[in-house]
């Protein structure tokens, strides 16, 4: 028995001992055609990691999802610890500001943004919580596992934007973005490898058109 299979079996045993209800995970179409086509929608509850360098298009993908969710009367929260999400672009991408909350921690302290992310996920008030992972974040394993549990508790989807793949993150789906396309690097229930194009630019033409 392989290591991952043994872990799965142990988890199943623990669940059986605890007797808790099994979490029903679904794929909820988010309205972004390329995402729905390749992974069948957002895992809910679940964690999606979108990795890529700054300028690769990962924020565009997350904003496209946020726009669709807010138009469908869902609420989206964006945790912005690096304080660089540009609100003008948020509006240009078609996000409804009335249903879009930005959390930009201003107080010093031990990762207040990480705590805030957990609270937002756990509360269940938002359909999607997006968080941009700073490049140098200590103890990613503990952090991301906490988020995964919180997303499960709040029955929502966490979109984690990272610079490079976070192996410790128990993501249901991991997408790598670059060159105008996205590649499915991991999918717990589907297949990997598809590389559909990123969503179109929202304002009718791209910045280089």
């Amino acid at each position: 028995m392989g290591r991952s299979a043994a872990l799965q079996a142990l988890r199943a045993q623990i669940r059986a001992l605890e007797g808790g209800p099994r979490v029903q995970r679904r794929r909820v179409p988010c309205g972004v055609a390329s995402v729905d086509a390749v992974i069948g929608g957002l895992p809910t509850p679940g964690v999606v990691e979108i990795c890529g360098q700054a300028g690769s298009g990962r924020t565009r993908l997350a904003l496209a999802i946020a726009a669709r969710v807010t138009h469908a009367r869902g609420a989206v929260c964006w945790v912005d610890p690096l304080a660089r999400l540009y609100p003008v672009a948020v509006v240009q991408h078609g996000v409804q500001p009335e249903r879009f909350l930005v959390v930009r921690p201003t107080e010093d302290g031990a990762s207040p943004w990480a705590w805030a992310t957990e609270q937002l996920l756990r509360s269940g008030c938002f359909s999607v919580v997006v968080v941009e992972l700073p490049p140098r974040t200590g103890s990613r394993r503990a952090l991301t596992q906490t988020w995964a549990r919180a997303a499960e508790h709040g029955h929502c989807t966490a979109l984690v934007l990272s610079h490079r793949p976070t192996r410790e993150l128990p993501a249901d789906v991991r997408l790598s973005v670059g060159g105008g396309r996205m590649v499915v690097m991991r999918d717990r229930t589907g297949t990997i490898g598809g590389s559909p194009p990123l969503p179109d630019w929202p304002v009718g033409h791209g910045p280089l058109a």
């Binding site: 565009r60 540009y86 509006v91 930005v102 304002v203």
Partner: protein, 516 residues
């Protein structure tokens, strides 16, 4: 026409309610600063030389045999509420901002009782029926009416200031009649101002400029000016009273505080329920042992804002537990106190149509908790602003907004319009140039080769050939203010499969954002 306020001053209410008369020398005492001190007196007690703040020993030494009763906050609250409810027979807008006064909005209701004089007499009769001594004054402003009731009206008397005529009646009163803070009293005395009339003669702009907006408000009252609608001061009595405390006997750890917290919250919740109130803001106070024998006990406190008014113990406990670790336990703690500093009538809470059924915590509670922890500016919604400078082309808006706007049909809809003017406007204004999703907090200086279009960009110690470039987009403005002036030529460049937003200003290139 300005509003009209009626103030009933009951100088001995706090002692009359426990059986003493205004003519008796008696006092009310409570624990304060390590001793039992006088907190209220009958008018006869004041005449006898007793003063609020004296210790019980000093009072007994000054006036042997003076009866001193211990304050019972709960019972006093109940009686005060009963008094306020009784005044509902006179006006439906009643408030009690000060311990010995009740304020009523009597604008336009004089005719109900046969005139303002009759309204005042009815209020006075009500006070007498309840067994109290009182004084009544009616003026354009609650503060002016309170000053006239306390300082210019005898017991059992009525003072009516005609509309617009308060200034003449207030003029001879001492400046303290307007209840200024101690700093303002000292400042005014320093320039020889002792009476309200002299204060009213000062230039309004100078008063605001020199002493602040609060002094300006007092000056407004001193000049006899009222407002069209009477602004009833908040009921301080109602808000201060819901507080509970528990002795700690020298606790030094957070765990000891958390141990007693549930019972303390339960007691506060019960007291709120007694008055059908829900708390909006509360304060946790930790009284520490004094390090010097003469000094007052140091206090460590933390304020907590409740998103949705509540008195649910579990909600309050969750909010308090996340904040109590901010209390500094620099010395053994003597007492833990919970004070509701703002409360409103409990009206329940109905989730909105867009609230998620999965939510385990109401959104207002969550937002208040996050704001308390992260800072007031940490949570916001976005709103575009009319500015050319990219850094200020947006502003923060509250979340959630007070009103949901209908969805904007978007510039594409205008482009499909039959009206050529709309199409032209959509081209000029509706389809703005795309902006980067990520804007650096401050532009980062970079090295760029090529002119006028960039051909090579140096970033993080590496050089990248520009695969594609578009520009320049000239953004300039603020020329009238040297500190705000800017003149930039922006380029969108594709380098290494990434799209950057760079600009050229004063011969230097900067990276300003990423089309991420």
């Amino acid at each position: 026409m300005s509003g009209r306020a009626l103030v009933a001053h009951l100088p001995a209410f706090r002692l009359e309610r426990i059986g003493y008369g205004a003519e008796d020398v008696a006092g009310l005492i409570d624990a304060s600063h390590g001793a039992m001190r006088l907190v209220s007196l009958t008018p006869a007690g004041v005449v006898a030389g007793l003063r609020v703040g004296m210790t019980a020993s000093e009072a007994r030494a000054h006036h042997p045999g003076v009866p001193l009763e211990t304050l019972d906050p709960g019972a006093e609250e109940q009686d005060h509420l009963a008094l306020l409810r009784a005044f509902d027979a006179v006006s439906d807008r009643v408030s009690s901002p000060w311990p010995d006064e009740v304020v009523l909005d009597v604008t336009h209701i004089g005719r109900l009782h046969g005139g303002e004089t009759e309204t005042a007499e009815r209020a006075l009769a009500l006070i007498t029926t309840l067994g109290h001594v009182g004084r009544i004054a009616v003026a354009d402003d609650p503060l002016a009416a309170a000053a006239l009731a306390v300082w210019a009206t005898p017991d059992g008397g009525v003072t009516l200031a005609p509309p617009g005529g308060s200034a003449a009646l207030l003029a001879p009163l001492p400046i303290e009649a307007l209840r200024p803070d101690a700093t303002l009293v000292v400042a005014l005395r320093a320039i020889g101002i002792e009476r309200v009339g002299a204060f009213a003669a000062l230039d309004p702009a100078s008063v605001v400029g020199r002493y602040g907006a609060a002094a300006g408000r007092l000056h407004h009252v001193a000049r006899g000016l009222g407002a069209a609608v009477v602004q009833l001061p908040a009921s301080g009595v109602l808000q201060d009273l819901p507080s509970v405390r528990i002795p700690l006997a020298g606790a030094t750890t957070l765990a000891e505080l958390q141990f007693v917290l549930p019972s303390l919250i339960g007691a506060l919740s019960e007291r709120l329920a007694d008055r059908d109130l829900a708390v909006v803001r509360l304060r946790v106070l930790l009284r520490l042992e004094s390090t010097s024998k003469l000094g007052a006990s140091p206090v460590s406190s933390v304020g907590i804002r409740v998103g949705r008014p509540t008195r649910a113990p579990e909600t309050l406990e969750r909010l308090i537990r996340t904040r109590i670790d901010r209390l500094e336990i620099a010395a053994p703690a003597e007492e833990l106190c919970l004070e509701a500093i703002e409360a409103v009538p409990e009206v329940g809470w109905q989730p909105g149509l867009s609230d998620r059924s999965e939510a385990t915590e109401p959104l207002p509670d969550l937002l208040a908790r996050l704001e308390d922890h992260l800072g007031a500016d940490a949570l916001f919604s976005v709103c575009p602003a009319d500015a050319w400078r990219p850094e200020v082309a947006w502003c923060r808006a509250p979340f959630p907004p007070a009103r949901i706007r209908p969805a904007d049909p978007g510039p594409e809809a205008a482009l499909r319009s039959d009206d050529p003017l709309e199409v032209q406007e959509a081209f000029e204004h509706g389809l703005p140039t795309p902006r980067p999703a990520l804007l650096l907090p401050a532009p980062q200086r970079i090295e760029v080769l090529g002119a006028p279009a960039p051909q090579v960009v140096g970033l993080q110690g590496r050089r990248f050939s520009v695969q594609q470039a578009r520009g320049p987009e000239h953004l300039a403005g603020g020329w009238w203010d040297p500190s705000e002036a800017f003149d930039r030529r922006y380029w969108v460049v594709q380098i290494d499969e990434r799209v950057a937003w760079i600009f050229h200003a004063s011969g230097v290139w900067y990276l300003h954002g990423w089309f991420d």
